[in-house]
Structures are given as structure tokens and as C-alpha cells.
């Protein structure tokens, strides 16, 4: 017996789909899908080629941002975005706390639970931009519609996470407070609130961060804020101003992210 009959290389056995025929079928399916998908993407290569020039201009605009010539528009958009972010987070949190308590299975009676879960599902299923379209149609252009959109979106996000957090609390503490003869409100205040408060603060800060990012988007459909300014700048092909706005957005998001993560570490 020669030693060379023994295999000298080792191949990792397949992990997820063990049957060879299934693996083949999945691979074939992926190839067929990709072929179909790519064949239906119609690309006007001449237009793309033409656009490369503009793309280059945009990269230049990004490298040499022009903050000054549209500064008034940018400042107004930023003010709208920032104020909208803060007010919508405060109002959204204020509304989500009762809904979050109502959506916690261990605190709320069944009908209230289903009602609150329904509100959360509706708020989460609808995208910010689509909500913004409707609210702009109802309330007119401007940051007020944006404020309502972001508050609505905050409710779905925060109440869901708050409700899950309340469901995860230590039941022993609730029982201890209840055994002293505390009312429902006192149980919430002394047993539930101290347990979920650090996380609620953290989530609110996180949502503040998300709301600022979203405020840059909903401006595109007319809900005010920096997005509207950005949309105008791109429509006018002023890539240097657009680059400046994008840099400002990235800078604020970075500051908000680092700030909120430090604050959350400090609070928890």
C-alpha cells in the first residue's frame, strides 16, 4: 500500500444543504434567476457613459464642497431638520410610553394588548416616505408634515422595543411591590419604570439619531428639512452644494452616533 493513496488535502463538508441533488437544484435556480433578472434590466449604456462626466463632477463637488453660496438655504434646511428631529422624538416617545405599556403582555389586559399591538403593526408596516406623502397631502408642505411623519414612525419603533423590554423584566420585583399593597400605577412607577428606564433612555437617543437621518429623506417628498435643500441642489446640478450638504449630514450623523453611544454607556 502506497502512502499516496491517502488524500493529502481536506475539503470542508457542506454545511447548510447536505443533499447533493438539492445543492445542484439551488445553484441552478440561482443561475436561472440571475439570468432572467439581469436580462430584464434595461440599461441605456450611452446615457451611463454620458453620465460618467457628471459623476466625476459630483466626486469633485464632494472633494471641494461649496458651503457658502447656498448657505442660507442650507442653514434653513438644517434648522428645520434639527428642530423636527427633536420635537418629533419628544412627542413620539411621550406617545409610545403608554402604547408600549399597553402592548406588554404582562401588564395590560387582552383587549388593550391587541389594540396597542395593532397600532404598532400599522406604524411599522408603513414606510416613512409613504406616510410623509400622505401627511404632506393633508397638512401641506413644510416641516410640520415631517414632524408628524417622524412622530408616527417613532411610535412603532419605540413602543415595540419598550413593550418587549417590559415583558422581559424581573417578575420578582413586580411581585414584591405588589405584595406591599401597591396600586397598578404604583407598580408601574416603582417596579417597572426603574427596570426599563436605562433602556428607554438609550432607545430614545438611538431614535433621535434615526429621526435625523430620516428627516433628510422625507424632505424629498416635500416634508421640509435638509432633504428638500438637497433635492433642490441636485435638481439644479449644483454638485458642490450637494456635496456640502451630504458632508454636513454625514458629520452630524457621526457626531450623533458617537455622542449617543457614549451617553448610553454612561447611563447604563
Amino acid at each position: 500500500m502506497t502512502p499516496s493513496a491517502y488524500p493529502t488535502t481536506w475539503r470542508r463538508p457542506p454545511q447548510i444543504i447536505r443533499d447533493r441533488r438539492w445543492r445542484l437544484a439551488v445553484r441552478l435556480g440561482i443561475v436561472v434567476y440571475l439570468a432572467l433578472a439581469i436580462s430584464t434590466v434595461e440599461v441605456n449604456w450611452a446615457r451611463v457613459y454620458e453620465g460618467l462626466d457628471r459623476g466625476w463632477n459630483f466626486v469633485l463637488g464632494f472633494l471641494r464642497p461649496d458651503f457658502s453660496s447656498r448657505w442660507n438655504d442650507i442653514a434653513q434646511g438644517l434648522t428645520e431638520s434639527l428642530t423636527m428631529t427633536l420635537t418629533s422624538t419628544v412627542v413620539g416617545v411621550a406617545i409610545s410610553v403608554p402604547i408600549g405599556i399597553g402592548a406588554a403582555r404582562n401588564l395590560a389586559p387582552r383587549p388593550v394588548y391587541y389594540l396597542c399591538r395593532g397600532i404598532i403593526a400599522v406604524s411599522r408596516a408603513l414606510q416613512e416616505v409613504i406616510v410623509a406623502i400622505f401627511l404632506v397631502a393633508m397638512f401641506g408642505f413644510g416641516p410640520f408634515a415631517g414632524f408628524l411623519t417622524l412622530s408616527f414612525a417613532t411610535i412603532g419603533f419605540l413602543s415595540k422595543l419598550l413593550a418587549e423590554d417590559i415583558e422581559d423584566i424581573d417578575a420578582g420585583q413586580v411581585e414584591a411591590i405588589r405584595s406591599t399593597g401597591a396600586s397598578w400605577a404604583q407598580v408601574i412607577n416603582y417596579a417597572v419604570q426603574p427596570q426599563v428606564m436605562p433602556r428607554l433612555t438609550g432607545l430614545s437617543l438611538y431614535r433621535l439619531d434615526i429621526n435625523f437621518r430620516e428627516s433628510a429623506v422625507i424632505g424629498i417628498v416635500g416634508a421640509g428639512g435638509i432633504g428638500a435643500t438637497l433635492n433642490t441642489a441636485i435638481d439644479r446640478y449644483e454638485y458642490d452644494s450637494a456635496g456640502a450638504i451630504l458632508l454636513i449630514i454625514i458629520a452630524i450623523v457621526m457626531v450623533a452616533e458617537y455622542g449617543s453611544s457614549h451617553l448610553r454607556k454612561y447611563l447604563q
Binding site: V41, N44, V129, M138, G140, G142, V217, I220, I249
Partner: protein, 270 residues
């Protein structure tokens, strides 16, 4: 035996000093809120706001009954939307993998130069929404599916890159050491030591991002980047609210199905 009488009989959670600080903090927050509210609503036309319930009733009355016959025109844009999300996810993942390996502290070739660069790519991609990417790309390479695919791909880099580099940093060092001890080259260490450890996370992140991308690609058409959003924009422009209802219901159904698929797949993988 002496009785302690100088203590308050009512228990309180915090010292007076902390309570004062907290009170001042809350007051500052309220003041900031009021100030922001005033700045924000400076240009608000309250007549429109007061008019909103009537407008809402008006829109609602136009939205029902939905015009179901419009559904026939929507299958092709829906297919396009799914393609934008899927091809965009593939593109994004392909670009995110090298970025993630450059950004992870234990695999980056140079912590001084390449790592900050990779982290900046991740942050820049994450802080700009796909709708804004699409807006830019439509202006640059023209309206159409390609702009949507590239927008989704660029947006996915940050998300996938961030989660993947965190997964790479959390890999078990002893397994990597074991592979190194066999005399493996760096490429072999990557292939046999690191990749198997992050594979479940990788597939989980990819499927999760695909699910989010389906959601986001439904609205990319609003700025001209193809898909079902184009139909939504067209219907909104001509105030055909009964068609808008059909589109929104279809979007909702797609999102629910994609969420279900992604939950099932993640469950199977992890």
C-alpha cells in the same frame, strides 16, 4: 434603646440633590422642546393644518374602492423592484466583504491607514439613505433600474460591512491559532479559520439586508430609479388615489412575504 426620629418616614429613591439635578434636566428638555417647536412652526400655515381632517376624509373617499384592474399593470414593476433589491444586495455584499475584512481589527492589513478608511466608507454609506443615493445616481447615470440597483448596493455596504466586521472581530482566536499552528498561509487561515466562523452570521446579515432592501426598493421609483415606486409616483401625480390604494396594498403584501421568507431562512441558517 434609642429611636431614630430625625429621618423622614417617607422613603424616597433619590437624594434631594439628585432630584434637583433631574428636575433641572427635565426643565431644560422642556424648554428646548418649546423653543424647537416655535422655530419649526414659524412658517406653518395653520389653516392647512386645521383643514387636515377634511382633506383626510376627502383622500380616503377617493381611495376606496381600490381599482383592482390596475393590478395587471403592476406585475412587471414588482418584478423590477424585486430585482433591484436582490441584485443590489448581491452587489452590496460583494463590495462589503473586503471592506469588512479591512475594517476588522484582527484581519486588517494596516490599522493605521486602511482601517479608518474602511470605517469611513461604512459610516458614509450608512448615514446616507438609499433614496438619497438614488436621487444622486438618477442625476448621474440617468433614470432606470441600474440607478436603483447601484443605490441599494451602495447603501448595503455600510450595513453589511458594519455587522460583518463586528462578527469577524468576535471570532474565536483559538481556532485561528490552531490553523496557524498547522503552518497555514494567511489565505488558508482566512479560509479555514475565520470564514467558517462567520458564515452563519454572513448569511443571516445578507438575508436580513435583502429583506430591508425589498422595503426600500419599493419607494426608489419616487425619484426615478425604477420599480413599483414609479407607478406610485405616476398615480400620485395624476391624483389617481384608487390606484394608489392598489399599489400600497401590493407593497404591503410584498413586504410581509419578504419578511416571512427572511425570517424562515434566518431560522434555517442559525
Amino acid at each position: 434603646m434609642t429611636e431614630i426620629t430625625h429621618h423622614s418616614q417617607v422613603w424616597s429613591h433619590r437624594t434631594p440633590r439628585t432630584r434637583l439635578f433631574m428636575w433641572v434636566g427635565w426643565l431644560a428638555l422642556v424648554a428646548l422642546f418649546v423653543w424647537c417647536w416655535q422655530v419649526m412652526t414659524r412658517d406653518t400655515i395653520w389653516f392647512f393644518v386645521a383643514d387636515a381632517p377634511r382633506q383626510a376624509a376627502d383622500i380616503a373617499s377617493r381611495m376606496v374602492p381600490p381599482r383592482w384592474s390596475y393590478l395587471g399593470e403592476l406585475w412587471r414593476p414588482l418584478w423590477d423592484t424585486i430585482n433591484i433589491a436582490t441584485l443590489g444586495t448581491i452587489g452590496g455584499v460583494v463590495m462589503a466583504v473586503p471592506v469588512a475584512f479591512l475594517a476588522a481589527r484582527n484581519t486588517t492589513p494596516s490599522a493605521r491607514f486602511l482601517r479608518p478608511l474602511a470605517l469611513f466608507v461604512i459610516v458614509a454609506s450608512r448615514s446616507i439613505n438609499s433614496l438619497i443615493w438614488a436621487l444622486l445616481l438618477v442625476a448621474i447615470i440617468g433614470p432606470g433600474l441600474l440607478a436603483g440597483i447601484v443605490a441599494i448596493a451602495l447603501r448595503s455596504i455600510g450595513f453589511v460591512g458594519k455587522l460583518l466586521y463586528e462578527a469577524i472581530e468576535e471570532t474565536d482566536q483559538s481556532q485561528i491559532e490552531a490553523i496557524e499552528a498547522t503552518g497555514a498561509s494567511p489565505a488558508q487561515v482566512l479560509n479555514y479559520g475565520i470564514v467558517p466562523q462567520i458564515m452563519p452570521a454572513f448569511w443571516g446579515i445578507t438575508v436580513f439586508r435583502w429583506d430591508i432592501n425589498i422595503r426600500e426598493s419599493t419607494i426608489l421609483g419616487l425619484v426615478g430609479a425604477g420599480g413599483i415606486g414609479l407607478k406610485l409616483q405616476a398615480s400620485l401625480n395624476v391624483l389617481a388615489w384608487s390606484q394608489v390604494t392598489v399599489i400600497l396594498l401590493l407593497i404591503l403584501a410584498t413586504v410581509v412575504v419578504s419578511e416571512w421568507v427572511s425570517a424562515r431562512m434566518r431560522h434555517a441558517i442559525i
